[in-house]
Symmetry: D2
Subunit: 312 residues, 4 copies
């Protein structure tokens, strides 16, 4: 709290606070669904906040978005049809479109104001993705869209805000949601999602989400996102009906990346992708110890701090 006058406070836990100092407020607006704030910072460049929770920063969004998208794409093999749920910044879309195998990329974001704010203020994120002719952008509810998918997708990416109570993503971490995703993928498609913080005091939400996913997908692989702006590691996951372990052997993936993915990738290469998939024992233990399954009747209920549940 040194050199700025405006600070966006984010609770990591109720006892661990991250203060984001802003040098300019580029946008502050309350939409139908949430509160958007885009600020300029000195160290991380621009940062996007939704409902007070940082979504990504100019300096390290590449870590978040490459790590969320590329492992699923590599797992899928030669993905053609890809669906992005959420991801208003357009950076998931950008990562998807790197693949010359992709012929269709559908993006669903319920909040048109968020998408247009990102297009206006954060063009470094999307890098022209919204103009790619392979893209179809829809502003509708992800859950409803999933129910009407006819042709299965090869990859679905769920880049939702944290499941804060009464937030727009509350029902995007439940068994019913994962069932709809699975149905939209078919037996060979691959699903990736952001699934809450991964640090030991906060791992409970992640563990429960993964336990819930396992019931629908059978094969789920937890892995970390180590972008700095979130104040601690986040947990991602890849899931499929078909076995996914060991798919990311560099001997197989390096030639694919070379042949089909327009670079440069700054965070992921074939070795980093394999490395991410090695789940630490404490993460596996937390998932195994979790006995809660989230459903639409009992969705995640977290107030401020994403994964924090006292005594959890």
């Amino acid at each position: 709290m040194e050199d700025a006058g405006i600070w966006l406070r984010e609770l990591i836990t109720p006892y661990d606070v991250y203060l984001h100092g802003a040098s300019e407020i580029l946008l502050w607006r309350r939409t139908e669904f949430q509160e958007i704030c885009i600020v300029q910072t000195e160290a991380f460049g621009k940062k996007l906040f939704l409902d007070g929770i940082v979504q990504s920063s100019e300096a390290d969004e590449f870590i978040y978005h490459e790590a969320l998208v590329q492992p699923a794409m590599l797992t899928a093999g030669m993905p053609r049809r890809v669906l992005v749920l959420g991801g208003g910044e357009g950076a998931c879309l950008r990562e998807v479109l790197r693949w010359d195998t992709v012929t269709e990329a559908v993006m669903i974001d319920i909040d048109a104001e968020v998408v247009s704010a990102c297009r206006a203020h954060l063009p470094e994120w999307s890098q022209g993705a919204f103009h790619d002719p392979r893209v179809q952008l829809l502003h509708t509810d992800a859950v409803q869209y999933l129910e009407h998918v006819r042709e299965p997708f090869d990859v679905i990416i769920s880049d939702m805000t944290d499941p804060v109570e009464d937030g727009p993503s509350t029902f995007c971490f439940t068994r019913e949601y994962f069932r709809r995703v699975q149905a939209a993928l078919g037996d060979h498609g691959v699903f990736a999602l952001q699934a809450g913080p991964l640090s030991p005091p906060e791992i409970s939400l992640h563990a429960k989400v993964l336990r819930t996913m396992e019931l629908e997908f059978g094969h789920v692989q937890a892995y970390p996102c180590n972008a700095a702006v979130y104040g601690r590691p986040l947990g991602f996951a890849v899931a499929s009906r078909t076995p996914i372990h060991a798919r990311l052997d560099p001997e197989r993936t390096a030639p694919v990346l070379d042949a089909h993915v327009r670079g440069p990738l700054r965070y992921i290469d074939a070795h980093v992708a394999r490395g991410l998939m090695a789940t630490p024992p404490f993460v596996r233990a937390a998932i195994d110890a979790s006995d809660v399954v989230y459903t639409d009747a009992v969705p995640p209920r977290t107030a401020h701090a994403a994964g924090w549940e006292a005594g959890a």
Copy 2:
């Protein structure tokens, strides 16, 4: 900043602040070398601060200490003599002593008050390590100790505080220091150290330290520490005079861990160890782009925020 009245503020950058809320102050003392503060927190258990910088927390010190010690030990093969520089909590020592191959573990910490405070208040960290008959504990200056090493060590771990200006570790990140470490290792020994934050806006210090190390060791491998309590990833490194790439093949390391290392390890296993060693392209690029070498004449000079240099 929700539920606590006492907050320890740490600058990640001058514009990114981490506030650690404490429910009790277990110890606050100014020693000859630094300021110690040990607090109880709700989410991370106990936390140790030196000169206002968090060193480790009860909840995730295992991530830090396993990641700092075990890759070097695995790289070394069958380490017998190990030197720990710094590491007042005793948790590096604990990780070293897991190995039944180790016959001597020397620990050098300049500040006897820090070590005794940790022994009194943080026994969960050392878990009896200070009572192990293989251990020799000395309170002297690391630089001076290194000059008098006769028999080479197999592994040296440098677990120093950040190189804050005028702090006790200022000269533990310079070319001269690395030369002394290298001399104390011989040609086949392995060195590991904590070397500053790894996030894109702060990577400058890490990159320069690694560039400096490369001049002395020839073979240096950067890798991340993803413990949450530091508010962003830190950068560790393993270094040796002999090539270290690819040494951590799980087919070789898994049987060694099984046979010689008393567990349970909670963060490292054979696959995680290999995974950590896959350096992301942006880290390699930052090191390659760094043209500063730290020397005793021109050591790292960072004021508050560890790796932050405006405009760097």
Copy 3:
């Protein structure tokens, strides 16, 4: 949040926070009744906190304590017997003992550990008061003590912590408490107390306390305490069964101060004392508009922020 690493956070309201930066923690302890913290600061010297709420600072405690004690003493005329309830720092006692008319000064503080901590760490506050032969110090409950007073006091000072729920002072702002105080004073004695914040968004507690006092005393005069360390003005009050308005005419009080009060006073003189007694219209209006009376059955219930009640 500039130059310190340790910050004591105090809520002025849930949306207005005062952060007290500390350069040293001189004492932190949990007693039978509350949590004590004494810190060294750069701007205000030492500060005392009880249950996370600042009590006084070395730099401006003279404003608080002169303003709390001297108007009541001046109103009383030639006070001989004085009772201080609370006031663990010993500074109320110091102000009482300035008067050569005083022959007995009784101080009641329930928490012996607070008093001994203040004597050890904050001698600048008491300035030897505890050694004055006129003083009797008792560690008992104020409410119980009041029930056993036989000879009436000329002045009673209530220097309690804010009525935080479940705190030791919860029942020191109720009608029953004021009745006991009134009984211990007789018809001509004068009562003074600290009664919560005075700023417009927080005036509700003060207004209700004063309304409650009026029922017992008949004559109550609200006045402000403008010490800086509390982050906003506090409200004090003087009360008596006999009319107190206009008693503080400088033509009467200046000679009394000269003749009977050992100086130097740094905040109060005869003109300042009269000036304080001029209640601003918004304060009078708030008291008049208040229709709640605190009783032992329904005492003040404030959680963190002293006088804050949403929507009040």
Copy 4:
């Protein structure tokens, strides 16, 4: 730091921080002269910040503006021509226009964008003042305007931002400025200004400003502003070439207020006005001990925290 996500940080001293929690950002803009931020808060209503320093809040601006304007008006007797320097909110103007004796009110604010932002977002402050036919509003430099005043004013109010280095008010606290003000007043006019914080650790700036004023005016009366939003008392002053002490006798001022001032006033009445003028001994001592005179060559130089000078 409880219930808001956006916090405006203000340094009271470098070791005492006030965090203003905002529920909405109504305006953020960088003008030619300064940075404007208008926010909605829960406890204080709307707040205006210029260059990160709170100017006034909806909940207690009446305390600030009545206290700044009315004592000077009462001292002047029957003021007709009044000049307001600064005061972009329009609330000084509102207080001036309460007087039916006033025939001309000139307001000079260098920053037209601030004035129009306040007119748009803070109409509760000006309450129609800008539409009063007695008002002349000019956007020019106060110093330059003063040089061209021909007919003397009865009252001049200087409601400038704090003299932050390189801010627009740097030269509005110097001997040359006060000389120009004095020339624009004539021998019987009265000057009032906001002159920095009044708390003991910060009183140095106020003391020096008042010492500087005394050289030009001869008669200067320091008095406090006890609005809460500034986190500590501010220091105001009234100055004139003719003696001003004792002018505010309620027997004289109460009938004037009744006859000529359209109410209701919520903070000032005849008794409060006299009471404010009673300067506490520590304030008088600080002014007397001050030996610095601010000049255009050596103006106040404070960086962040208004009156703070280490070791002062």
